[in-house]
């Protein structure tokens, strides 16, 4: 019997040992992983052809049913249209006469005249094109050129209709989408981006024309089976699609057209529209089912006006001509799950990938990583959390060294960001997304009024001095939300940057400095303020919640804010909606600045937040980095890496990114943009990987509250920091 029991136990133990050692899921061979074998969704790998042009680029182009490319080029006296075959060979060309009107016996070419027209389209070897009246621009002329007969015909002149954006020949008619003067008189620009567009049909044989749709259309396209699809603004916001001559309306709120540009789309097959969203081409079913939204992720920027889709091929204009790619369907609707521990999901583009977000705390994050959990594909973390440095040090990431665009991107970011993204073994352990740091914002105009030289503000002593000056002059109409937690934390990382010992003179001085300069109220960090003297009340009063911009009405001189605060953006947007803002308001998120809001802010300047003291002659500035790491045990590792590649490429091409180092990528001519760039490019910057905040605060608060002495505080802190770093 004993033998039997022993045998059973041994079998159990053997099984358990095997199960523990064979769980190698996710332990993939990192070195031999071939990224280029992975294909997702729609790819451009099957065919990639560049039509060579005689000149650098075409003005306009159109594709006929045979896949032939018709394009026109700039010439002095006429419009030259060339026809290229599938292999790029020249098939035909035409020199089209200048188009215009005869006024008093004199020929006056249309504005674009011999150089170009509004739009071109082609069908059955006939080219159709339009242009506007040269003087009044309130009418549009429609022409055709038959490549078989070499005959040019003016089909119609349409009064009160201009700015034609698209023409489609279909069933003996030519459909034009342009601005109807009659409709453009009465529009509400606040409601949507509608400018008065309507769709007109012109009979190709007779030239008769009529309005066929004027219920706020903004674009149209033809399906491969010859149906005209119209997209329009819905009355109550959003968009919808409909087929011409059909009453059936298909709402679609998944479109993501930018308000600042004219939207455009083409049809892929009979049900999917293709439109460009920033630098990416999005495929979206007409019925608005977002589940199958996919993407061509390896395309460069596409000119909104110049792209076409025919027979499964995408044609688009590049700087050197027209590129044709085959869209091969490999629909992979993998949904990537990103864990984040911020209150709000990270603001990250999805590039057509299915992306879900799940908030977890750092304990759950540790547990997820240690248990080799495959539930999360990516982790969105920032350096402010102490787990971020642990992930780097313990190798809890999938290295991104071989992922396309990641290296290029890291070479383009600020050097200290690149340094933080690569660990000691040379592994790229994360993809940086954006930075935030603390700046001191001030209103230059008001400061000039009070003769205050903020530009000379370098240290906290300078700041205290300015506050004292303001107080002595009874200037109270300003705000500062500096509180000791921020002040101490920042000082802590400045001082501890190169030396992890608490019990030393400069840390002792700093602790005493803060002790002497704030009015500490137990358990109430938010109302403890830096003061210029030992008054029992704060020098600076902040009405309402410090997180609500709307509460900061009125003027201010100084305003300290962590510029990556999403709450601020929300509040600010709300304030804008109610138009209760003025020149004194400001909001900036150095990660994703929305410049539409900055037009009104002329007097705001940004400087580095004053530091407690210079370390080795430099006032160091800690910068927080928001980044993404890839879970090495993700079940969708291939797709995740494709996503990371798309994200890196996107980041690489950002303008005004506040993470790219090249100053030329900052095109906005604004004071604060330049100021913010200066802050982020400051030589004393470093990415702060935070320690467990409990190490820093708990005993310091006791010291501020006179519960323990400075020596006791320093001794406790010394033990904690040493244990944290060495245990």
């Amino acid at each position: 019997m004993k033998k039997l029991i022993s045998t059973v136990i041994i079998v159990f133990l053997t099984l358990s040992l095997l199960s523990s050692c064979n769980n190698d899921k996710g332990n993939k061979d990192i070195i031999n992983y071939d990224f280029h074998d992975v294909k997702i969704n729609f790819t451009a790998d099957d065919d990639d052809f560049l039509y060579e042009m005689e000149k650098d680029r075409p003005i306009l182009f159109a594709i006929d049913n045979n896949g032939y490319l018709y394009y026109n080029e700039l010439t002095q006296n006429f419009m030259k249209v060339t026809v290229l075959g599938l292999d790029g060979e020249k098939i035909d060309e035409a020199e089209i006469e200048p188009i215009g009107v005869w006024e008093s016996g004199e020929f006056i070419p249309y504005p674009n005249g011999a150089e170009s027209f509004n739009c071109i389209a082609v069908k059955d070897n006939v080219l159709y094109f339009t242009d506007s009246h040269p003087f009044t621009r309130d009418s549009t002329a429609v022409f055709s050129y038959n490549f078989n007969t070499k005959e040019q015909v003016k089909i119609a002149e349409i009064e009160g209709f201009n700015d034609v954006r698209k023409i489609i020949p279909l069933d003996g008619k030519l459909y034009l989408l342009g601005i109807d003067e009659r409709l453009s008189q009465n529009i509400n620009p606040a409601k949507n981006n509608y400018k008065g567009e309507s769709i007109i049909s012109v009979a190709l044989q007779t030239g008769e024309h009529e309005t066929v749709f004027d219920n706020m259309p903004f674009m149209m396209a033809e399906t491969e089976d010859g149906v005209l699809i119209i997209s329009a603004y819905a009355e109550n916001g959003g968009y919808y699609f409909k087929k011409l001559n059909s009453e059936n309306i298909i709402p679609n709120d998944n479109l993501n057209f930018s308000n600042s540009e004219e939207p455009n789309f083409e049809m892929y097959g009979s049900e999917n529209i293709i439109h460009d969203s920033d630098k990416f081409l999005v495929f979206l079913p007409v019925d608005g089912n977002s589940e199958t939204r996919v993407i061509v992720n390896n395309l460069p920027s596409i000119n909104r006006k110049n792209f076409a889709v025919k027979s499964g091929y995408l044609f688009y204009e590049t700087g050197s001509g027209v590129r044709r790619i085959k869209l091969s369907e490999e629909v992979n609707p993998a949904v990537l799950n990103m864990a984040h521990y911020s209150v709000l999901p990270p603001i990250i583009e999805n590039f057509g990938f299915g992306l879900t977000f799940e908030q977890i705390d750092t304990y759950e994050l540790s547990l997820s990583l240690l248990s080799l959990d495959s539930n999360y594909d990516m982790y969105n973390i920032n350096s402010f959390s102490d787990i971020s440095d642990n992930i780097r040090q313990k190798g809890a990431f999938y290295p991104l060294n071989d992922v396309p665009y990641v290296n290029e991107y890291l070479n383009a970011v600020f050097p200290y960001v690149r340094e933080a993204a690569i660990n000691e073994d040379g592994d790229i352990w994360m993809l940086p997304i954006y930075l935030h740091t603390n700046g001191l914002l001030y209103n230059e105009k008001i400061c000039e009024e009070y003769d205050i030289d903020i530009a000379q503000l370098n240290t906290s002593e300078d700041l205290i001095e300015i506050l004292a000056t303001l107080k002595s002059r009874d200037i109270t109409e300003y705000y500062d939300i500096t509180h000791p937690q921020f002040f101490f934390e920042r000082s802590f990382y400045q001082i501890m940057r190169k030396n992890n010992e608490f019990n030393r003179d400069d840390f002792r001085e700093m602790a005493l400095y803060i002790y002497d300069n704030i009015n500490y109220i137990k358990d109430d960090w938010s109302y403890n303020r830096i003061t210029s003297d030992t008054n029992p009340y704060p020098l600076i009063q902040v009405p309402g919640s410090v997180n609500r911009v709307a509460d900061l009405r009125g003027r201010y001189l100084l305003y300290r804010r962590g510029v990556g605060d999403y709450h601020m953006q929300e509040s600010f947007n709300r304030a804008l909606e109610y138009e209760d803002y003025d020149d004194d308001y400001f909001w900036a998120n150095l990660g994703k600045v929305d410049f539409r809001y900055f037009e009104n802010y002329k007097h705001n300047r940004f400087i580095l937040y004053p530091s407690v003291k210079a370390v080795e002659g430099i006032h160091v500035n800690d910068v927080t980095l928001e980044f993404i790491t890839v879970n090495p045990h993700s079940e969708n590792l291939d797709v995740v890496l494709e996503y990371i590649s798309a994200l890196a490429e996107y980041q690489l091409n950002l303008e005004n990114s506040f993470i790219l180092h090249d100053e030329k990528t900052y095109s906005m001519d604004r004071h604060f943009v330049k100021d913010a760039y200066e802050i982020l490019n400051y030589e004393g910057n470093f990415i702060r990987f935070s320690l467990d905040s409990e190490l820093i605060y708990s005993d310091f608060e006791k010291f501020l509250g006179d519960e323990i002495t400075l020596d006791e505080y320093l001794n406790r802190a010394e033990f904690k920091i040493n244990a944290y770093l060495r245990e």
Partner: protein, 269 residues
């Protein structure tokens, strides 16, 4: 009367069959995880998984904070466990043989078992607000565990036949001699068992101190025990240090338990 048909399945097989659910549970929830921990203690990193054999153990044993934690845990065993056993033994003796009036307080000794740890820690923190040494932690440990020890010992006393005490009294033995020569030896197996479970409990002291020190992962130096060391390494994703120290601790507990069981067998009458 019809004779009962004798089962052809042997009794031991039946027992084994009954044990299977328990064995499966233990295997899934204890044995497999333990072997996983053992495996992780032998590799460099759970993400790369290269075998480094005993490197993690060497690194862990050489780590000054592991040594500090181990020393503090050992002090808890050497100081608090004997204090706990002596106190519970004394109280049990008094409850069983001494002060009859003390019996009304029996509930008070068992109360710590049912009081939630968070409440107990709060009471302790209030009571010892200005004490800056390890004493409150030791007292909290004793207070939390004294109830179960008293129950075990009191139960053991009731198993001793009264005739043994009567015979000793007839032989002129004094009360102290009776307890020293009869009571203690007779309850020795229970005493050893109480010592063992107290030692095992002492290794698990974390929740109480964690809450007592206000939820910090870094209590004062004198209260930094192995549980803190392991928990902090978990939070820092250092599974190897965590696994090595866990295996080390488990081996230590295993040795102590084996010694205890051997002693217990020796004193079993």
């Amino acid at each position: 009367m019809k004779p009962t048909k004798k089962s052809r399945i042997p009794w031991n097989i039946k027992c084994l069959f009954c044990l299977v659910p328990s064995l499966v549970g233990i295997t899934i929830f204890f044995v497999i995880p333990y072997f996983r921990v053992l495996y992780y203690s032998l590799i460099d990193n759970q993400f790369r998984r290269n075998f480094v054999w005993l490197d993690n153990y060497v690194k862990t044993i050489q780590n000054e904070y592991f040594q500090l934690a181990f020393k503090n845990s050992l002090l808890l065993i050497l100081i608090a466990v004997p204090a706990l056993i002596l106190s519970s033994l004394s109280i049990s003796l008094m409850l069983s043989f001494g002060l009859k009036k003390l019996r009304v307080l029996r509930t008070a000794f068992v109360l710590p078992l049912v009081i939630p740890t968070a409440s107990a820690a709060l009471i302790w923190a209030t009571f010892f607000a200005n004490v800056d040494n390890v004493l409150p932690v030791y007292l909290l440990f004793i207070w939390k565990n004294i109830g179960i020890c008293i129950i075990l010992m009191t139960a053991a006393f009731t198993c001793i036949d009264d005739s043994v005490f009567e015979a000793a009294k007839l032989d002129g033995a004094k009360r102290f001699t009776i307890h020293r020569k009869i009571t203690i030896p007779l309850i020795m197996p229970t005493l050893i068992f109480s010592i063992l479970i107290s030692i095992v409990s002492s290794f698990k002291v974390f929740k109480e101190t964690y809450l007592y020190y206000g939820g910090t992962n870094y209590p004062p130096q004198y209260s930094y025990t192995l549980q803190y060391y392991m928990n902090n390494n978990f939070l820092k994703l250092d599974y190897q240090s965590l696994a090595a120290s866990a295996v080390f601790t488990s081996l230590l507990v295993f040795v102590i338990v084996i010694i205890g069981l051997l002693l217990q067998r020796r004193y079993t009458w």
